[in-house]
């Protein structure tokens, strides 16, 4: 029995304008989705060429959910995206070459080789680097919101988590705290229906993760995560509500994880029909179709955008490959912070 509200799809360009995006913005959204996918596809190749050490995780199928939410964030807002949320990094302005450098453990990746995959964040762009203990980011996001509340700043924190991570106590505690204090935090659940090999019914017993929001005293919304505009609209509502002092919202973006948990997992446990059905709902394809139908996207325009993305990624990769591997002599640096480290936007 569902409690959460189900989001409406976005119909027309006008509706979109009402939600705050014009045509240019929409093309930018499309481009960001292409870049997101392009980086991850290239990453697969790099991994199998032995150029990416460790393991490799992607968020194929989550491009709309990630780009959609990030597009709704304000410049001063902060977020804790996870490994399926490459689109957040791209939308917020992280340069692709730095992402490749991070994948490859090079000095110019945001983590300078100390952590891999998307365990990285450029805090100037308002992001906090994730950990592998995924739900642990939720109390952190809630804490950011707490700071904004205390200082009465019109800023919002966005905390991402998967449906698997919803099972841990961190999720409960964060939402309890955020709800009781009406903190300006938006919880975004990337429900891609598989936590490694564990299906949703073993992670939560309600119909939706978003059904729980009511238990914490705020609204929960279930959204078709492959519809970037629907995601955007709901995210915008929730973020602005929080900014205005209206407290948290739990957004659940429903998608399917289109690849294995990581590159070494072939997801044999996912029924093939599931892949087939969701492949028909590919976020990028959907949006391209919508743009053609509702925003008069021409083949030419589309071709230009695609070519531009290809060129961008190609030169990004070249640049990343020139970035050196870290010097072992630097290993011990920075275990402890100094006062200089406090000279950041967040601490002003």
């Amino acid at each position: 029995m569902a409690i959460a509200r189900e989001a409406e799809p976005v119909g027309s360009l006008n509706e979109v304008r009402e939600a705050g995006l014009d045509r240019e913005d929409l093309l930018g959204v499309y481009r960001n989705m292409l870049i997101t996918r392009g980086i991850e596809e290239r990453g697969h190749i790099l991994y199998r060429q032995g150029k990416i050490p460790g393991s490799f995780y992607t968020g194929r199928g989550n491009e709309a959910a990630s780009v959609g939410v990030a597009t709704a964030m304000g410049a001063q807002d902060v977020g804790t995206p996870l490994h399926r949320d490459m689109g957040v990094h791209i939308t917020r302005g992280v340069e692709p070459w730095r992402i490749f450098a991070n994948y490859m453990g090079r000095v110019d990746g945001p983590s300078h080789g100390r952590d891999g995959n998307v365990h990285m964040a450029d805090e100037r762009l308002g992001m906090i680097a994730m950990v592998s203990h995924l739900p642990a980011m939720l109390p952190v996001a809630t804490g950011c919101a707490l700071a904004f509340r205390i200082r009465e700043e019109a800023r919002v924190a966005v905390g991402w988590f998967g449906e698997g991570a919803s099972a841990r106590g961190d999720a409960h505690e964060s939402m309890t705290f955020a709800g009781t204090r009406e903190l300006p935090v938006v919880f975004v659940c990337d429900n891609n229906q598989w936590a490694y090999s564990t299906p949703t019914h073993l992670e939560f017993a309600t119909e939706h993760v978003a059904d729980r929001a009511q238990a914490y005293g705020f609204e929960g919304v279930v959204i078709d995560g492959t519809d970037v505009l629907a995601v955007y609209r709901e995210a915008k509502r929730a973020i602005e509500k929080a900014r205005a002092g209206g407290g948290p919202t739990l957004l659940e973006c429903l998608t399917l994880r289109m690849e294995g948990h990581a590159v070494h997992d072939d997801a044999f446990y996912v029924p093939k029909p599931m892949f087939e059905r969701w492949a028909e709902s590919d976020p990028i394809e959907r949006f391209r179709t919508w743009l053609c139908d509702n925003a008069e996207l021409t083949d030419e325009e589309e071709g230009e955008i695609a070519a531009g993305v290809k060129k961008l990624l190609s030169s990004a990769l070249e640049r990343a490959e020139e970035s050196p591997l870290p010097d072992p002599a630097t290993l011990l640096e920075g275990v402890y912070a100094t006062s200089e480290d406090l000279d950041t936007p967040h601490h002003k």
Partner: protein, 449 residues
């Protein structure tokens, strides 16, 4: 982009615990062209089967691993561009082998000299050590072994850092014939003692660690092992011969009775028979330097001094130790008596320091405390002789009276032995030493103080 320089294709790691992969199919052959990112081969691992895209455009110049082969992650599988048919990737550079090892050899080498001849620097002069900074440092285990065996670490050749003595060095030294250790008879704290064991017979053929009914096992302590090794080595080194002489100690007895009270009252010292014998021996050694000498390499070392070792039995039968009275030739009877009392006391109270048991040139042992009248002590290497004193026994003795006739008198007799190294000391020489010693003891003037 096409590559002129060689680009390696390696087996990727498909997952954290994956350590190898199998080539299932080559999609290109040597000599064929390939584009960057185009699939080059298919592989199978524990986790997944996948394609490996080419890292570069160009000619496949080498295919190094055949289909069906399983190789470790990171193995070079093929090469794009560069020279064709080059041999497989050079093996990883080997770690530098034992060439820099010679530094370790001295440890083994230190054992060698210890074996044939006694260590070349047992004498108290500081050995020709490398840098003395390290030599001054004695590690806990070396200090313990030194104290247990009565060895002065500064006399041990050191092969450790800065020339310090290592555990190996001191153990080798102890086994190789530490000068102190060969003391034969254990002695009771003051005077009389226990017979010296001659070369002990080899134990019965029962296997080590096993017992026959009625037998018990106890472990061999470090000290016992040290004594055992030293005794064996000493007998294998010196050509042990023992000559004995009987000494009429009447005058000594009388003198002692007179001095005893005086010494006790004034100096708190008991002049023992041992002190008298020691004093007389030290004087006699002046005339018989070879009995106070050492064979060192190709030379014979004689001395103008006597560092007199006195064998002392340790409490609870723990073993024996031979503290040394340095420069005994400078002491009178009182001095020697005091020195003997002092070292016996220190030995009894475990207060001996390595310096106390180091550098002896001649040793006296006193097995006669339990009534034995003869023995054949073992020389304390690298000395060349050891004197044994035995029970003072009243015997009927033939003496000449005032008229020059033979009469029988009751006399206190002491048997004294000199066990000497016949490589250096000949029988006649030893005999003369004993004769002179007897003369001194029998002719004791008694006005010493």
């Amino acid at each position: 982009m096409a590559t002129e320089t060689a680009v390696d294709v390696v087996m990727p790691q498909m997952g954290v615990s994956v350590s190898e992969g199998t080539i299932t199919k080559w999609l290109k052959q040597e000599g064929e062209q390939i584009e960057a990112d185009e699939p080059l081969l298919e592989i199978s691992t524990d986790k997944v089967d996948t394609e490996v895209p080419s890292p570069a455009s160009g000619t496949v110049t080498q295919i190094l691993v055949p289909e069906g082969a399983t190789v470790a992650v990171g193995t070079k599988l093929a090469q794009i561009g560069g020279a064709a048919g080059a041999p497989a990737a050079e093996p990883a550079p080997e770690p530098a082998p034992a060439e820099e090892a010679p530094a370790e050899e001295p440890v083994a080498a230190a054992e060698a000299p210890a074996a044939p001849a006694p260590p070349s620097a047992p004498a108290p002069e500081p050995a020709a050590a490398s840098s003395d900074n390290g030599r001054a440092f004695v590690s806990p285990v070396v200090a313990r072994i030194a104290s247990e065996h009565g060895v002065d670490p500064s006399a041990v050749p050191g092969t450790g850092k800065g020339g310090r003595v290592t555990k190996k060095d001191i153990l080798a030294f102890v086994e190789g014939g530490a000068p102190v250790q060969a003391a034969p008879a254990p002695t009771a704290p003051t005077a009389p003692a226990v017979p010296a064991p001659p070369a002990p017979p080899v134990p019965a053929p029962v296997a080590a660690g096993e017992t026959l009914p009625g037998e018990t096992l106890e472990p061999i302590t470090a000290m016992r092992r040290g004594i055992a090794d030293h005794m064996r080595r000493s007998l294998d080194t010196g050509a042990h011969v023992t000559s004995a002489i009987e000494v009429d100690m009447s005058r000594v007895v009388k003198t002692r009775e007179r001095l005893k009270r005086e010494y006790q009252a004034a100096y708190g010292v008991n002049p023992t028979y041992l002190a008298f014998v020691a004093k007389a021996s030290v004087e006699t050694l002046r005339d018989y330097p070879y009995v106070n000498a050492e064979m060192r390499g190709d030379s014979i070392v004689t001395r103008g001094f006597v560092n007199l070792g006195i064998a002392v039995e340790l409490a609870e039968g723990k073993g024996l130790i031979v503290p040394v009275i340095r420069n005994a030739e400078t002491m009178n009877l009182l001095g020697i008596a005091k020195a003997i009392a002092e070292i016996a006391n220190k030995a009894r109270n475990k207060q001996l320091v390595p310096d106390d048991v180091q550098g002896g040139t001649f040793t006296i042992t006193n097995p006669g405390g339990y009534g034995t009248f003869h023995g054949t002590p073992v020389i304390s290497q690298p000395q060349s002789a050891i004197l044994g004193t035995y029970a003072l026994v009243k015997r009927p003795w033939v003496i000449e009276d005032e008229l020059g006739d033979d009469v029988i008198a009751i006399r206190p007799l002491m048997n004294i032995t000199l066990t000497y190294d016949h490589r250096l000391v000949d029988g006649a020489y030893a005999g003369r030493f004993l004769r002179d010693l007897r003369e001194r003891l029998e002719g004791w003037e008694g006005d010493e103080s």
